[in-house]
C-alpha cells in the first residue's frame, strides 16, 4: 500500500478540492437515500457511501478529455466529474430534465459533454466499451486515457478477462479501477473468489498493477496519477485495486445483514471522509471553520439541486419513442 506522505508538501487548493469532492458525493448519496424514502426514487438505487475516496481520488487526477465508464454504483464518479447535481437528481427522480431525460435512471447516468460515456447496469458490461475508448484514445494520439470503474464481482465475469488481455496486447492507455468492497451483491468475496487481494489477478495478464487503501483519498490520487502517466506515455494499461467498503447494502432493498457486525464496525471506523478531515486539521492544512464553511456550501447545493429536480416535469411518451435510433 502506498504511503501518502505529508499533506503539507501538496497543493492546498487540490486538497480542499478533494475534500469538497468527497463531501459532495457523500451528501448527494445521502439525499438520494432520503429521496427514496420520500418516494422520489423509483425502482432501486445503488449507493457508493463509504467508497467516495475512490471516485474522488481517481476522477480528481483526470484530464477533461479522458474517458470514463463505470457501473450502476456510479453516482459518485459522475458527481466527482462535475455532472450537474440538478440533472443527476432529476434523472434519478425520472424527470425530463435529467441527464438522459428520465430514460436511463439511477443506473445509467451519462454525460457526453464530460466524457462520462457509459454506466453499465450489467456487471462487467462497461469494460469492453472502455477498451474501445482506449483504442480511440491511442489512435487519436493526444495522450488521453480511458478509465473504467468496476467492482470485485466483475473480476469473475468473462468480459474482465477478455478486456485485461486485450488492453495488454494492444498496449492501450486504459486504467482499470477495481473497487474491491468485498461483496458481489449479497455474497462475500471469499465464497466466490480464490483470494481477496484481487491485484493477484494482474500477474496472469502481465499488466502493471497496484493495490491501495481505497479509503485513503491521497493514496488513491497518487496511484491514479502514476497509472495515468503510464497511459499517457504510451506504456500501456494499469490495474488498480482500491480496497474499500460500502456502508449500506447492495441496493435499496438490501439491509446488508449478511455482513459480520465486527467487519462493518471496523470499516465504519475507517470512513474516508472523517479520516481525511482529521488529516487536514491535524496537519494544519486548514481549520475547522473553513471545512465547516465548505460543508455548508455543499449542503446548500445538494438541497437546492434536489428541490429543483423534484419540481421538474415528467417525460411524455414523445420523449422516449424516437430515442432508440437516429433514423427510425
Amino acid at each position: 500500500m502506498a504511503d501518502s506522505g505529508k499533506l503539507s508538501n501538496r497543493d492546498r487548493e487540490e486538497l480542499l478540492r478533494l475534500f469538497v469532492s468527497m463531501e459532495r458525493v457523500r451528501r448527494f448519496e445521502e439525499r438520494v437515500r432520503t429521496a427514496f424514502v420520500e418516494g422520489l426514487v423509483h425502482g432501486t438505487t445503488h449507493l457508493c457511501i463509504g467508497q467516495e475516496a475512490v471516485c474522488s481520488g481517481v476522477v480528481g487526477a483526470l484530464r477533461t478529455d479522458d474517458y470514463l465508464t463505470y457501473t450502476y454504483r456510479g453516482h459518485g464518479v459522475c458527481i466527482a466529474r462535475g455532472m450537474s447535481m440538478r440533472a443527476a437528481f432529476a434523472e434519478i427522480f425520472g424527470r425530463v430534465t435529467g441527464v438522459a431525460g428520465g430514460l436511463g435512471g439511477s443506473m445509467h447516468l451519462t454525460d457526453p459533454d464530460l466524457n462520462l460515456i457509459g454506466a453499465a447496469g450489467i456487471v462487467g458490461g462497461g469494460l469492453p466499451l472502455a477498451v474501445g475508448a482506449a483504442l480511440s484514445a491511442r489512435l487519436a494520439g493526444r495522450g488521453q486515457v480511458s478509465v473504467t470503474f468496476f467492482g470485485d464481482g466483475a473480476t469473475n465475469i468473462g468480459a474482465f478477462h477478455e478486456c485485461l488481455n486485450l488492453a495488454v496486447v494492444w498496449r492501450l492507455p486504459l486504467m482499470f479501477v477495481c473497487e474491491n468492497n468485498l461483496y458481489g451483491e449479497f455474497t462475500r468475496i471469499d465464497r466466490t473468489t480464490p483470494f481477496e487481494e484481487l491485484v493477484h489477478r494482474a500477474a496472469a495478464y502481465a499488466i502493471t498493477a497496484a493495490a491501495v487503501d481505497g479509503n485513503d483519498v491521497i493514496a488513491v490520487t497518487d496511484a491514479a496519477a502514476a497509472a495515468l502517466a503510464r497511459g499517457r506515455a504510451g506504456e500501456g494499461p494499469t490495474f488498480l485495486e482500491c480496497r474499500t467498503y460500502r456502508h449500506a447494502g447492495h441496493s435499496r432493498t438490501d439491509p446488508g445483514k449478511y455482513r459480520p457486525a465486527e467487519e462493518v464496525a471496523s470499516w465504519l471506523a475507517r470512513d474516508p471522509l472523517p479520516a481525511f478531515e482529521q488529516r487536514l486539521l491535524s496537519e494544519r492544512i486548514c481549520d475547522s471553520a473553513e471545512l465547516q464553511r465548505l460543508k455548508t456550501q455543499v449542503a446548500d447545493e445538494v438541497q437546492h439541486a434536489a428541490q429543483e429536480a423534484a419540481a421538474a416535469q415528467w417525460p411524455t411518451p414523445r420523449d422516449y419513442l424516437t430515442s432508440a435510433l437516429v433514423r427510425g
Binding site: L129, L139, E162, R327
Partner: protein, 350 residues
C-alpha cells in the same frame, strides 16, 4: 440513392468527390471487401476489427486487400474474444470512430449477445439520445457447406426483438456492396447478416457512390401476379429458381427479397400480396420466432381481405442444422420444395 445523399450531406468534407461510377462482375466476397475498403478510403474514421482479418484476409476471405492497403492500425486482428472486441466497437463509435467488426461465423454472435442487446442497442436510448453508436457488425452465417450445428446458423432472426438495432441481409454482390457501405455511413448500429454459400456467387456491381443502397425496406426482385414469395439470403436465389419452375407451369410468382429485417417496413410485401393474394415466406432457420412470422403478421394486419389462401412459412425443421450432406440438404428449403409449396397455395380453394 436519396438516403446516402442525405447522410453524406450531414458530414460535409468527409466524402471524396468525383467518385467514378463503374460496373464490374465480382463475387459476393469481393463486394464485401471492396465496400469496407471504399469506406475506409473515403473516411479516416472507419476501421475494421475481427479474428484473422489482417494479413490472412479473413478465414472466409472477406477482407481481401484491406490489410495491405490500410495496415494494422485500421485492420486489426483481435484475440478470439467477441465480447471484448464487439463491445470495444461501441467505445470506438461513441468516441468518434466508425468501426466495423467481423464475426467469423454468425453462430459466434452468441458469445457477445450481452454487448449487442444490453449495450450497443440501448446506448443511444439510455443517454436520452445524446450519444450515437455508428458501428457495423458483419456476421457471416448460413448452412449448406457441411459446417455442422455450431457453424451453420444464419442468425438473422436472433435480434428481431431488440429495438435499437438495424438488421440487414444482402443476397447479391450488389446488395452486399451497397448495403455495407450504407451501413458504415448509418448513424445507428447495424448488423449485416451475410451468407457463406453466397460468398462465391457473382454479380454485376456498380462501384462508387452510385452503388450505395438503401437500408429501408424489402424489395421486389421479380415481378409476378399469382403468389408472393418472400425470401432472405441464400433462399433468395432458391426462390428465384422456384419462380422459374413455376413460370414453366404458367404460375406467375412475385419474389421479394426481405433484405431489411429491422426496423421492419413491410409495405412492399403488403402491396405485393394485395396484388397476388397469396404469400409464402422462405427462411433458412426455424420458422418459430423467425422473420417469416413477422411478415405474415403484417400482411394479416394490413391486407387480410386480400388473402385467397392462408399464408405459409417454409424454413428449417425445428431442429439444429445437421452435418451429413444428405440430411443437411434435406433440411434446407430447395427450389423444388419452394415451388411445391407455392403450387399448394395456388391450388388452395377458399
Amino acid at each position: 440513392m436519396a438516403n446516402a445523399a442525405r447522410l453524406s450531406d450531414e458530414r460535409p468534407g468527409q466524402r471524396l468527390n468525383g467518385d467514378v461510377m463503374q460496373t464490374e462482375l465480382v463475387s459476393y466476397r469481393e463486394a464485401i471487401s471492396r465496400a469496407v475498403g471504399d469506406e475506409m478510403r473515403a473516411d479516416p474514421r472507419v476501421l475494421i476489427l475481427g479474428e484473422d482479418i489482417g494479413e490472412s484476409e479473413g478465414p472466409l476471405k472477406t477482407t481481401l486487400g484491406l490489410f495491405k492497403e490500410f495496415g494494422p492500425a485500421r485492420v486489426r486482428d483481435t484475440p478470439i474474444a467477441e465480447e471484448a472486441f464487439v463491445g470495444a466497437a461501441l467505445g470506438l463509435a461513441l468516441t468518434g470512430y466508425r468501426p466495423v467488426v467481423e464475426i467469423m461465423f454468425a453462430d459466434f454472435l452468441g458469445v457477445c449477445f450481452d454487448q449487442i442487446v444490453n449495450s450497443i442497442a440501448k446506448h443511444r436510448f439510455m443517454s436520452g439520445g445524446r450519444m450515437h453508436a455508428p458501428l457495423v457488425i458483419r456476421a457471416i452465417g448460413g448452412g449448406a457447406l457441411r459446417f455442422g450445428p455450431q457453424h451453420s446458423q444464419t442468425g438473422e432472426s436472433w435480434f428481431l426483438n431488440v429495438p435499437g438495432l438495424r438488421i440487414v441481409a444482402p443476397s447479391t454482390p450488389a446488395e452486399a456492396y451497397g448495403m455495407i457501405r450504407a451501413a458504415i455511413r448509418d448513424p445507428d448500429p447495424v448488423i449485416v447478416f451475410e451468407h457463406k454459400s453466397l460468398l462465391g456467387t457473382k454479380g454485376e456491381v456498380i462501384f462508387g457512390e452510385g452503388g450505395i443502397r438503401d437500408l429501408d425496406m424489402p424489395a421486389v426482385i421479380r415481378p409476378g401476379d399469382t403468389i408472393t414469395i418472400v425470401a432472405s439470403l441464400a433462399m433468395v436465389p432458391h426462390a428465384l429458381e422456384a419462380a422459374q419452375q413455376l413460370a414453366a407451369a404458367s404460375i406467375s410468382a412475385e419474389v421479394v427479397d426481405v433484405r431489411v429485417l429491422r426496423p421492419f417496413k413491410p409495405d412492399p410485401i403488403v402491396e405485393s400480396v394485395r396484388k397476388t393474394s397469396r404469400l409464402l415466406t422462405v427462411e433458412e432457420e426455424a420458422v418459430h420466432g423467425g422473420w417469416g412470422s413477422n411478415v405474415i403478421a403484417a400482411v394479416i394486419e394490413q391486407a387480410f381481405d386480400h388473402l385467397d389462401a392462408p399464408p405459409m412459412r417454409l424454413g428449417l425443421p425445428d431442429s439444429p442444422l445437421p452435418y451429413s450432406p444428405p440430411i443437411e440438404d434435406d433440411a434446407i428449403p430447395s427450389p423444388d420444395r419452394i415451388a411445391a409449396r407455392a403450387r399448394e397455395l395456388v391450388a388452395y380453394a377458399l
